[in-house]
């Protein structure tokens, strides 16, 4: 296969993963499950698309694509994690089919803790900017 065919294949795979992620976004029941689909599929899909672009262009652009991939791999799970954490702490309910919940105890401990911790649990951003 020529390099262009390789690039097209990679981009096609990436787009397919992105498509799966968006389907998951629509079908799954609650915020946390949707975040799962959104993060994993979209991160890998983006990486495949970038790899396709790197194969296609070569040289300087390929290097930029590789740097982009590293950044996406580092930052996108952090974004999902921050969203899930703040969603839980601001009281977004999990789906009723959730089987175990070890996190509830931790958050409730924070809520009943002395004032600064309570502030931290309820109003994350405000205390942090101080």
């Amino acid at each position: 296969m020529s390099s262009e065919a390789w690039a097209e294949t990679l981009i096609l795979i990436g787009v397919l993963f992105d498509l799966l992620g968006t389907i998951g976004l629509v079908r799954l029941p609650d915020v946390y499950n949707r975040l799962q689909a959104g993060t994993k599929c979209v991160t890998l899909g983006t990486c495949f698309i970038l790899a396709g672009a790197a194969v296609w262009a070569g040289g300087a652009l390929a290097m930029k694509a590789v740097i982009c991939m590293a950044f996406v791999l580092l930052t996108s799970p952090v974004g999902a994690h921050a969203l899930a954490r703040s969603a839980y702490r601001s009281g977004v309910a999990a789906w009723e089919g959730t089987v175990v919940d070890d996190y509830r105890g931790h958050v409730e401990r924070l809520m009943h803790a002395p004032t600064p911790m309570k502030d931290e649990a309820t109003a994350l951003a405000q205390t942090e900017i101080a």
Partner: protein, 152 residues
């Protein structure tokens, strides 16, 4: 950093750690966008936005105290004014060679970093200016009001 233990205090340690890793690289990328504005897509305005984004990320993840160690409270206004003056100075210096905004420096070889005469310098001035501006607006909206609430 030490004052806020790993369990308490603002955003989670994951966000804080990755923000720590990324801030420098975002700055490097922003400066490359600014400096290569005359060769590649980008330029002062786009790169300046990236520069300010690095500091905004630090404020959002670590709070204001960390940023105050890097930039003083008046730094955005100072850099903003200095960069605006530098840009104006570059424009006025054209008079020495014959006209307003005249490109008086040697043009250099195309596709090299030192080409385009005053254009890279203008880009740098605009980049610093836009970055300082946006960070200043963010600081004004996010930090000043909070200070006011505290003092009240």
């Amino acid at each position: 950093m030490q004052a806020t233990s790993e369990s308490g205090g603002g955003l989670s340690p994951i966000v804080k750690t990755v923000a720590r890793w990324m801030a420098g690289f975002i700055l490097v990328f922003g400066l490359s966008v600014v400096l290569y504005g005359h060769l590649t897509p980008g330029g002062g305005f786009a790169g300046g936005v990236v520069l300010s984004a690095a500091f905004i990320l630090v404020v959002l993840s670590h709070g204001r105290r960390e940023v105050l160690q890097i930039l003083s409270e008046r730094a955005p206004t100072i850099y903003d004014g200095l960069a605006a003056l530098a840009f104006l100075l570059l424009a006025v210096l054209g008079y020495a060679a014959g006209g307003f905004f005249l490109n008086f420096l040697p043009k250099g070889q195309p596709f090299q970093l030192w080409s385009g005469g005053i254009i890279p310098l203008c880009n740098l001035a605009i980049g610093v200016k836009v970055g300082a501006c946006l960070f200043g607006v963010f600081a004004a909206l996010a930090v000043f009001r909070h200070l006011h609430q505290r003092s009240a």
